[in-house]
Subunit: 327 residues, 2 copies
């Protein structure tokens, strides 16, 4: 709390120095106390200059996934009202799930700088190198039945894809149900987990993993990152993307789409999803329960299923399974 | 383990005495050790006679929801292969859920003699007086999508209802989705909870609460028990029903129906459910999202939803909500 108070005063006055005396008054602690808090902020990555007789001045803020950065000027009412950050975790989704079980509010966000055991769908792994990606989980408590959960995943994919497109990389597309691709390679994966009764969802944890500044040698096969894609298209050898800015915009877009979903149902979400995908109309291969079949991606059903047109002309709905584009 | 070894020898030889020496050999422990284990079994409710020079004899077994009773001659391969019992818990479903999260196998059964905070649907309470009811939770790991979960509840209701009918009380009926009634009052409630990804169930906990030997003064309004119903119809003032026998038969029926569901899908389960319900064709009132509407219970959909015929003739599918019969 005191850290954030000090920080916010310094943020407001970035061109001049704030005297130690002023900070003492504001935080209600001694000069030595101020010094200790400034040291703590420096340790978190804030560059703070201290000049005798003048005071303190904020030189730079870190691109770190910490509450003081993510919550600063975040334009959300629900998403991010509670932000917890971890240096290294086994799985941020597991932590968010436990917090949700303990009653943490809708909109709580869990961030991690590194995951030892990042999770993908169906028990797969998600490689999560330190400090180069966004590993984020959000707790939602929607008043829906378990059968409606696929739309929550589509909503999350749409929020992330539109954020990446607007902010930095226009050429990303969603692949049903939960991947975001650039140039055919995975740039983001979304894992939705829930606790539910038979007819009512208790809570949902949306896990989002994005490769942001990750370099190719730290990425598994079939994956890419935002900076790798930017490098490929430009002469800028090493663009760095602000992860904090991306996180904030994702939260804002998530909140906007969630409000639309609650007010107007799944139709506008699915329309938006379709605009962000290049999949419909394409030939695809589906692996479902160890069986493979091909067809044309025809539509997204209002319940979030993928509708496939088989070669016989028959339409088949798929709510699970893995999809590959056939080139 | 040694307890069960001693117990099983005594069970096989209920008409004669088993010498201490024999038991020592069998269990591989001293006479004093045998005595200690016999004392422990007595403490659990087993009546064991000990006669000098003759040995030990099992006089009676307790009707206690403990592994040694439930697993004895249980005709199941999966259900009940692991049984955990507790004297008093907050909620057996919460315990089973935690165990499932830690990886406990399909078929694990959690039993409690008393619940401080028994749970009903949607955060409601389930009154669970000590040692008179069955409070049981089973862990399942079905390979299904979250949308298919309602059928698991219907399956559990069918297994319990058919058990109660066959064993003791022919006049019980299932009310959609998860209650079993006798004379219009609740005799059993079923609460299904799950952890799931968007397209795949991780595990399901089926919670079953049955009022067996509970007397009217220990039951809330609108509830009844098996013995109360038996008393009402007979001159037998105080029939006692074996809870252990009921639990075993429920587990056997659950396993049989679960195998049918896996092999043949939901249709035979739903047919069986319909045979055990008196609801279809009746006039009902549905409370859904604080709105009330009436109609005729028309059918159960293959996905487990209730289909209602409104007065306009329109059919409406309901997958959540509370249903009341209109008399």
């Amino acid at each position: 709390m005191i850290d954030e108070k000090i920080l916010n005063v310094l943020r407001h006055d970035r061109d001049s120095y704030v005297s130690g005396e002023e900070l003492c008054k504001l935080a209600g602690i001694s000069r030595a106390g101020i010094w200790k808090h400034v040291e703590k902020l420096r340790h978190e990555g804030y560059e703070i200059e201290a000049v005798p007789h003048l005071g303190y001045k904020l030189i730079s803020v870190p691109d770190a996934l910490i509450p003081s950065e993510v919550k600063w000027k975040l334009k959300c009412r629900v998403f991010g009202r509670e932000v917890l950050s971890y240096k290294k975790v086994d799985s941020k989704n597991d932590i968010a799930y436990e917090l949700a079980e303990k009653g943490m509010k809708e909109g709580t966000v869990v961030l991690a700088e590194e995951q030892a055991r990042g999770k993908g769908r169906h028990g797969r792994h998600w490689i999560s190198p330190s400090k180069t990606g966004i590993y984020m989980s959000c707790i939602l408590r929607p008043d829906i039945a378990p059968a409606e959960i696929p739309v929550i995943t589509l909503m999350a994919a749409a929020a992330v894809a539109t954020t990446i497109r607007d902010a930095v990389l226009p050429e990303v597309y969603i692949k049903w149900p939960n991947d975001i691709l650039a140039g055919g390679n995975k740039i983001c994966g979304i894992l939705t987990e829930m606790k539910a009764e038979q007819d009512r969802v208790g809570f949902v944890v949306i896990g989002i993993g994005i490769n942001v500044n990750t370099t190719r040698r730290n990425l598994p096969k079939g994956a890419t990152s935002i900076t790798e894609e930017l490098c490929a298209g430009s002469r800028d050898a090493n663009p760095r993307i602000s992860r904090v800015e991306l996180v904030k915009k994702i939260l804002e877009n998530l909140e906007a789409l969630y409000n639309i979903l609650k007010k107007k149902g799944s139709a506008p979400i699915i329309d938006m999803w379709k605009d962000l995908s290049d999949m419909l109309g394409s030939r695809i291969k589906v692996v479902l329960h160890n069986k493979v079949f091909e067809g044309q991606a025809h539509d997204i059903d209002p319940d979030g299923s993928l509708v496939i047109r088989l070669s016989s002309g028959v339409l088949r709905k798929v709510s699970s399974g893995d999809v590959e584009m056939v080139r």
